[in-house]
């Protein structure tokens, strides 16, 4: 196997490459032959019924889950069991979770500076400066000294986004970022994500927010039963779904 981690980040190399990726949980085949290339600056929305493997797929990209077959290349570095590679990829890939997963014992500011200080070995003052910059971007700088438990769900999720951005990632993964939110808070998080998209960030979003998909995505990927059923640009995807299962899914999601 060639060692590809030394490649410079250039336009030709896709941000994320998945080639023939398979994954099993025991006997259960969760991911079946996933092939996908994500170009730099591309924004992809992944949707599908629950249990279709969409979360598992993006969790494989930063190795929260391990794939058993195939290749995953992130930013020119192939994911192997090599700890150094995993650490490097996790530095380059930010992730936002459904349940925010902020660290409740640290303040908002400390949540944002923790990884830059301990992983990037940044001086504290510099890390705090960067953290405040991103907290302003997500419009909650005034909450910096509060603890996560004192914030609303929407505010927590925006902090979580800022926390990831502080690591200056090349790619951002969103795992159902609005599913655990009350309806009135979904918009503030989506707005933050749209603003982020406008900066040209490479984004992979697992979400059921079809409005967001229409306005922001370059491509929409539909998964079911551990397979990618259909990939298309948003207009074609919503107006003219090719596959029967996609049609069924859309009719269920868009009914309301």
């Amino acid at each position: 196997m060639t060692d590809r981690k030394t490649h410079p980040a250039s336009e030709e190399i896709p941000a994320v490459q998945l080639q023939g990726v398979h994954k099993w949980y025991g006997e259960f085949h969760v991911l079946k032959n996933i092939n996908m290339d994500v170009a730099r600056g591309e924004r992809i929305v992944i949707c599908g019924p629950s249990g279709s493997g969409k979360s598992t797929m993006i969790r494989c990209i930063n190795r929260l889950e391990e794939h058993q077959k195939g290749h995953i290349v992130v930013d020119g570095t192939e994911l192997t069991s090599d700890v150094k590679n995993i650490e490097q990829i996790r530095r380059e890939v930010g992730m936002v979770f459904q349940h925010f997963n902020l660290f409740p014992h640290l303040t908002v500011l400390e949540n944002c500076t923790l990884a830059p200080i301990w992983v990037r070995k940044m001086p504290k003052a510099k890390a705090e400066e960067i953290a405040m910059h991103f907290l302003e971007k997500v419009r909650i700088p005034e909450q910096a000294s509060k603890f996560p438990g004192q914030l609303s769900g929407g505010q927590q999720q925006r902090v979580a986004i800022a926390r990831s951005l502080c690591m200056n990632p090349a790619i951002m993964l969103f795992d159902e970022p609005t599913s655990a939110l009350d309806p009135e808070m979904i918009k503030e998080v989506l707005d933050t994500m749209i603003e982020l998209a406008e900066t040209g960030m490479t984004m992979l979003c697992v979400t059921h927010e079809m409005g967001f998909a229409k306005t922001v995505a370059n491509r929409v990927v539909f998964m079911d039963g551990g397979e990618i059923i259909e990939t298309n640009d948003p207009h074609a995807f919503f107006d003219n779904p090719q596959h029967e299962r996609t049609q069924l899914f859309l009719s269920q999601v868009l009914q309301h």
Partner: protein
Amino acid sequence: MSEMMQEKYAPGTHPDWEPPATEVGVIGWMRENLFSNWRNSALTLLGVYLVYLIFVPLIDWAIVNADWAGDTRDACTSGGACWVFVKVRFNQFMYGFYPAEEYWRVNATAVLFALMILWLTVPRIPLKRVAGVLTLFVFPIAAYFLLGGGVFGLSEVETTRWGGLTLTLILAVVGIVAAFPLGIILALGRRSEMPIVRALSVAYIELWRGVPLITVLFMSSVMLPLFLPEGVNFDKLLRALIGIILFQASYIAEVVRGGLQAIPKGQYEAADALGLSYGKKMVLIILPQALKLVIPGIVNTFNELFKDTTLVLIIGLLDLLAIIKAALEDSNWLGYSIEGYVFAGAVFWIFCFGMSRYSRALERKLHTGHKR
């Protein structure tokens, strides 16, 4: 009343009325809690009778008819409790056979300890981490030299002269502090994904938790000398402490494991996603949260250990209980066992009750914190 019922109010203008007298105040309370029906009333009478049966003679014996003044047993004439016995022996009960002119050293250690505990437990005082480090690492060394002496011009006091409440506290505090790091390592080991590490941790924890402390003390006092190379030997106190520490670590491990299990998986994943290594993840993210969760559990463990330190009596160390038991065998003071044990019980009770209250208050605080 009936007039008031008749009155009509426009919607939204109804004033607050006083509740009926039977619902509030002393009478309302008594109706509710003591005489709500005939069964309840009968229970109340039974309760009052029990109180009369237990507390009247008890107060009579312990306070009304008790003797306080004097220095010998001849002073005890009134037939109630003879607290003279406790008064005369009080210093011994507190300090054991520590030289009287050096009592200040024990007192200084105790004050130091009390200050550390205050710093750790009063929420308003800042820098808890500094306090924790000082208590865990600096205080034990300072206390050791202060009590043992032999340096800085302090005269040496052998451990065989340590006793009484001093020894009880030393056993309990050293036992828990030294067992703590080992307990954390075992807890992490038990949750590790490495099968051999996990198996060894489980075996260690289950072995010590499965046997009574007394057999552990027997082992450390009888078998420890056999385990060591010829000529190497520890004094009795250190042997007992080693037994207590090895034993206690397994209990702490289980408490800490409970805390680790309570940390949601998302916290581990978020730390991983940010690129933190295993060590940094544990030290910065998981352990601070888990340890905060298990403070009540640790306090409870400490409480149990504090009570269990009395077992050193069986291997011949003179802790508070043992020294009182020895004093009761003094032929000048035969027949005052009840006073001796009641006093010992009261001292232990104050410590243990205080700690159990504290841990319950903490638990309540933690729970409300989580609900938000």
